[in-house]
Symmetry: C2
Subunit: 336 residues, 2 copies
């Protein structure tokens, strides 16, 4: 059983955690500093498929299969799978996970999906109705770029605030059966909108949501940044990360010593042309499910906050003059 | 606490149920047989907004506010809201529910969203971490038509198998606090694909998923159609409903006496030009949250199965030669 702590945080039973996880990534990500942590990398970003969308589906299939294999499980052992992605109607997830035959709950949290799926999976297990659940998400630079921005072939100039959508996916299997990374508390994010409308500056659009969720979590749990080894955000990138720290300083909270961001970690800013850092559901999915989980399993990290952020817009909402609301979902994990 | 029953069904504690619900609908729906059951109907399908997408968001805002008002609750009383819709990146939900300031988990189940959000909300409450949860979804004929098919102004001819996307929304508030319609069991659907590829025949694409989920539920709970007052599907419409009955007859199960479908009920087929019936997330959302809930509250209905079906495709997946996978999520409810 879980219980509510403070206003918005839920404390879980302490029995549910991640028993297996896998991250896969594309060729550009494989040239970055985390290259050795991924479970599989691809030199061909089409993964042998005919379209970018089918390639993104394949990323999810592969991440899910790696996670299953590492846990010595088959798809029939999983009671429910929670997945989502950035593509219209979440087709990467549908077509990527169709062949597994696992009961499926589609999620939409934009780039917050990895945290959303893990926290929902953990709560569903804590309800007693499910033994094993899987959380999956992905993004692909080429499918995202042409859906949200411009045709790839156009070769458009990118603004300095733009982030580079990661080609990658992550899958995590949760259970009460001897997890090595336990989900302690979760905080569900609110739709937060400070009226940022620049679709080439997602970090700025998402930072207010991140500040809101993180600040609420500290209040609810009566803890502070010093209590954690790492406070890892999803894909705020270089600009959003600075804004998050600035917003929290206003509230008297300094996270600068503990904070890192998957969008900053996945690429080498000096050698790779990614402007404000990595983004996309697959950014924190591939980083969290490979590098971070490995460091939790080895107990190099013992007590961390993982908070993925999402921008809840579409090209249509932007064309109709809407601002870009953000959301941030938080998970507190410990090594055993 | 919940517990697993059989292979795929979860039996809840019996404490969680729907304490308030509201359905709103557009002008064509208001001319149908359920006109008096809706909580609000609109003569102007733009609802005073400038675009169809903003109008659809407004449907969600209004449905949510009606449900809150009927329960004498304010948004701050709700711990979490689960919502989704058919529009790219689920913008009806984001922009429709942004102003409420409730922690938000975006869902994507296509037209199965009403069942998915209600069942997930019920399980989250049964986990112990949340007291009150809201489930919301919507669709709008004009926003769906132009996104999935053709510009409205084109006035394209519709095939006889085509269904009419309902302009409507539904919102349900769940709690353990004196519910009048209790969630007994839920069965999460699997992505089911019998390689139907006609995007103008969604009923056929979704029927196999409905048959799979319903048959699994009967097996898991050791019950049969005669045990229920009503087996209500989401929006299979006239063609999909016949296919569902045919598929189940092959397994030796006859639901013809108990079965009805929201896509058949919402319009008057003889007087309204809707071909194979109603469809869209808002179809079963508006019917279930108004007419069906009222009949449960009055105990005219005492023991029902509500199963919403969704087609997990996008125009892009169809253009790339993919078939249309379906999904169906099931809820078993009783009057108190």
């Amino acid at each position: 059983m879980s219980e509510k702590v403070g206003k918005r945080t839920v404390r879980l039973s302490g029995r549910v955690g991640i028993i297996s996880a896998a991250g896969v990534a594309g060729h550009k990500e494989a040239e970055g500093p985390l290259k050795d942590s991924f479970d599989e990398v691809y030199t061909d970003d089409l993964l042998g498929e005919k379209t970018w969308e089918k390639a993104e589906s394949r990323l999810q299939t592969n991440a899910a299969n790696h996670a299953l294999k590492k846990a010595n499980l088959s798809p029939q052992d999983i009671d429910v799978i929670l997945a989502g992605d950035l593509l219209n109607q979440c087709i990467s997830s549908t077509f990527g996970l169709r062949s597994l035959g696992i009961p499926y709950l589609g999620q939409y949290g934009a780039c917050s999906t990895m945290a959303q799926t893990i926290l929902t999976a953990a709560l569903l297990i804590d309800s007693g109705g499910f033994s094993k659940a899987m959380a999956v998400t992905s993004s692909h630079f080429c499918s995202a770029e042409r859906q949200f921005r411009l045709p790839i072939e156009y070769g458009g100039q990118r603004t300095p605030t733009a982030q580079w959508t990661v080609t990658g996916a992550g899958a995590a299997i949760l259970s009460t059966n001897a997890p090595r990374a336990v989900i302690r508390e979760v905080t569900v994010g609110k739709i937060t909108d400070l009226r940022i409308s620049d679709a080439c500056n997602m970090g700025a659009a998402m930072a207010p949501a991140a500040a809101d969720t993180l600040y609420s979590f500290f209040l609810d749990t009566n803890t502070s940044p010093e209590d954690y080894d790492l406070i890892l955000t999803g894909d705020l990138g270089y600009i959003g990360s600075e804004l998050l720290k600035k917003l929290l300083r206003r509230e008297g909270t300094d996270i600068s010593f503990q904070h890192d961001d998957c969008g900053k970690r996945i690429f080498n800013r000096k050698r790779q042309d990614v402007h404000a850092g990595g983004s996309g559901c697959g950014c924190c999915a591939s980083v969290f499910c490979s590098d971070v989980i490995k460091r939790l399993y080895s107990e190099e990290l013992k007590n961390i906050i993982f908070m993925a952020t999402g921008a809840l817009m579409s090209p249509t909402s932007s064309q109709q003059g809407e601002s870009i609301p953000g959301i941030a979902h938080l998970i507190h994990l410990t090594a055993v």
